[in-house]
């Protein structure tokens, strides 16, 4: 399969991370909202973590994708004969 999963997955987590971090930044002083999570701005911190994670995944996926694009296409194996079991 030529679709490296890390690309869409990285993208998704990056977006989620951005959304959470931005929301966290905007509501930073809101004590009532964060009373639940013991006063910690969960949105901001976790958002940043996810952002980093997502971006890393995305980069890894892209690197691999570019690597694969440079190699010659693999020879068609005996998949033809195996059809129509």
């Amino acid at each position: 399969m030529s679709l490296d999963l890390r690309i869409p997955m990285g993208l998704m987590f990056t977006f989620v991370g951005i959304i959470l971090s931005v929301f966290g930044l905007r509501t930073n002083g809101d004590a009532a909202l964060y009373a639940k999570s013991l006063g910690i701005n969960a949105n901001l911190w976790w958002g940043l973590v996810l952002l980093v994670f997502g971006f890393t995944m995305f980069l890894l996926g892209r690197r691999r994708q570019l690597q694969l694009a440079k190699e010659p296409p693999p020879a068609r194996e005996e998949g033809e004969a195996r059809r129509g079991h």
Partner: protein
């Protein structure tokens, strides 16, 4: 949440281009790398039963629940990776029932295909039910329905339909690959959603020591009091755990359930295939923290009560500040509410008149308690993701078994490959419709785990005996396997009909023939039922095999241990070999067990 749905369906569309042959659709072209299959392997299993069910069991039984992992799953995963994968993958069978046909005969395969199809649809239905109930309880759609003027009671149905449609879409389009990719996505999402919960919860309750102080002693120890059924919360004893859980149920699931095996069989070569269950075992050892702890924390927290705080203001006014807590929350323990029948709105009682605790709500309530808006959306999406991955796994297993083992073998042989591809897609639709039907039947249990284990024990426990005999003894015959399977399943049903857990009413919990024995808990009943089923299958299969003619050895090459050349792993560095990984995994599991004994 919308973002997630978009991506999930998007992956389905992206993969549609690759779905040219039925092999691509049902087996992901047999070309996926080991790490993807490994994570998907565990994620397929991380459905409703893991996330909610483990939280619920954690609340009900304490740390002993970790046995499901340590004894039930890890050894079995190591076993299947090292010993059974060569047969599954090497035989080029496209499904577990097909493997049975190669090894035994047609009728054994037919029996397994039918029972598996039923079971997997049941599992899918349970996932749907759980998700719908959750959406209902968390009031996710309440606002929307109110605005549109629809009755609130319709939320349950709406959720079921919504989840069905989404899963249907991405599997219809992308087949097994889509399911696998999405499962890996779901795996990370679940960690993203639950890790902060555990961290916050532990911090709130005062760390590990604080947790210990808030729950009954036995809850914090995995092994305490297991010698006798009275001294541990699960009501089982060491033989029950060892044999019932470890050997039979655990292996029955991990070694034969096509749901998981399908994912491993999609790997790109034999070495990868063998490593898949082992790779999966690593996160599996650490997951107890993510899913069981919320349950423990939920029970440990103080129970909210309706309380009145009276204050006198500076101007002399007396203020009564009443915080009302719904009856079901007050009747419960910690954050776990009492169980309410969704149709009548009344609390359900057990056989001794105490309100039944709705343990399934332990984890969701934890989410609501700790997460502010924003990250709450993430937590809820993670929960939904876990359900959908469970459903997706079941649906792909179902459509494969249906198309290859039932349709192709019995209804329409020798058609073109495109025809089967189409059938596979329609089987997906059919499977989902059936799941919806079974979703409504799951309302009677107060813990999803118990329901699933019951179903599994009927079908899986006897199955494992068949595979063991088939793979390791060339003397086992088709007749033996077939009769063994029937006898084992019958034994499971008989056992269920004759015994009853102490706190339950006769009926769906057992005892529908007559009650000759009481078990301390549902769980104990399940484990022992599994033991009976396995043993019966084993004995009957051996006896019948000895009386019937075995197949000639030439036909069994590659299917039986003694007749298969061992794949040579010499070219791999020693630490890359499956055996080494397996030993490392086992050592890790043992270490964890000792730490939490």
């Amino acid at each position: 949440m919308l973002l997630y749905f978009v991506f999930v369906i998007g992956i389905g569309f992206a993969l549609k281009r690759y779905m040219k042959t039925s092999k691509d659709f049902f087996q992901a072209g047999r070309a996926l790398p080991a790490w993807i299959c490994g994570l998907a392997f565990i994620s397929a299993n991380l459905g409703a039963q893991e996330v909610i069910g483990m939280g619920a069991s954690g609340a009900k039984y304490g740390l002993e629940t970790a046995h499901f992992y340590g004894i039930g799953a890890i050894p079995a995963m190591v076993f299947v990776g090292i010993f059974m994968m060569p047969f599954y993958y090497g035989s080029k069978a496209r499904s577990v029932p097909e493997f049975l046909r190669l090894r035994f005969d047609e009728k054994t395969r037919g029996l397994n295909a039918c029972s598996f199809a039923v079971m997997t649809v049941f599992s899918s239905g349970i996932s749907m039910y759980a998700m719908a109930r959750l959406i209902q309880a968390l009031h996710v759609f309440d606002g929307l329905f109110y605005q549109l003027g629809w009755p609130q009671g319709g939320i349950f149905t709406f959720s079921i339909v919504l989840s069905a449609v989404i899963v249907l879409l991405y599997i219809f389009l992308g087949g097994l690959t889509s399911a696998i990719y999405n499962e890996v996505l779901q795996f990370f999402l679940i960690i993203a959603g639950f890790l902060p919960l555990v961290l916050l919860g532990l911090k709130n309750i005062g760390g590990w020591a604080g947790l210990k102080a808030s729950v009954p002693v036995a809850y914090m120890h995995e092994w305490k009091g297991v010698l006798h059924s009275n001294t541990n919360p699960m009501g089982i004893e060491i033989i029950g755990i060892g044999m019932g859980l470890g050997f039979v149920l655990g292996s029955g699931y991990w070694c034969t359930d096509f749901l998981v095996i399908q994912t491993a069989m999609a790997s790109k070569d034999m070495e990868s295939a063998r490593r898949v269950p082992l790779i999966a075992a690593v996160p599996k050892m650490l997951f107890p923290f993510l899913v069981i702890l919320p349950g423990l924390l939920a029970i440990g927290l103080p129970t909210p009560h309706t309380s009145t705080v009276v204050t006198t203001e500076s101007n002399g006014a007396i203020v009564h500040n009443i915080s009302v807590v719904p009856k079901e929350v007050e009747d419960g323990r910690g954050l776990v509410p009492a169980k309410i029948n969704p149709l009548t709105g009344q609390a359900m009682l057990d056989a001794s008149g105490h309100p039944l605790l709705d343990y399934d709500m332990a984890t969701p309530n934890m989410l609501l308690h700790y997460f502010p808006t924003g990250i709450l959306g993430l937590g809820l999406t993670a929960l939904l993701a876990s359900f959908m991955s469970g459903m997706a796994g079941n649906v792909t297993a179902f459509n494969t078994v249906f198309t290859y083992d039932l349709y192709q073998s019995y209804i329409h042989k020798g058609a073109s490959d495109r025809h089967y591809l189409a059938v596979g897609r329609w089987a997906t639709v059919g499977g989902i419709l059936l799941s919806i039907a079974t979703a409504y039947a799951a309302i009677n249990f107060n813990n999803i785990m118990d329901t699933l284990q019951l179903v599994f024990s009927f079908v899986n426990a006897p199955l494992f005996a068949t595979f063991l005999l088939g793979m390791f003894s060339k003397r086992t015959t088709g007749h033996g396997a077939f009769s063994g399977l029937i006898a084992g399943t019958a034994a499971a049903m008989l056992h269920h009909g004759l015994t009853l857990p102490i706190e339950a009413h006769a009926g769906i919990h057992g005892g529908w023939i007559t009650v000759i024995h009481h078990y301390p808990s549902d769980m104990a009943q399940n484990f022992w039922g599994a033991i009976f089923a396995f043993s019966t299958n084993f004995v009957v299969a051996v006896v019948v095999s000895l009386c019937t003619k075995p197949r000639p050895e030439s036909e069994l090459v590659g299917l039986v241990h003694s007749l298969t050349p061992k794949p040579s792993m010499a070219h791999l560095a020693w630490w890359k070999r499956p055996e080494a990984l397996g030993i490392a995994v086992l050592l890790g599991a043992v270490a964890l067990n000792i730490f939490f004994a």
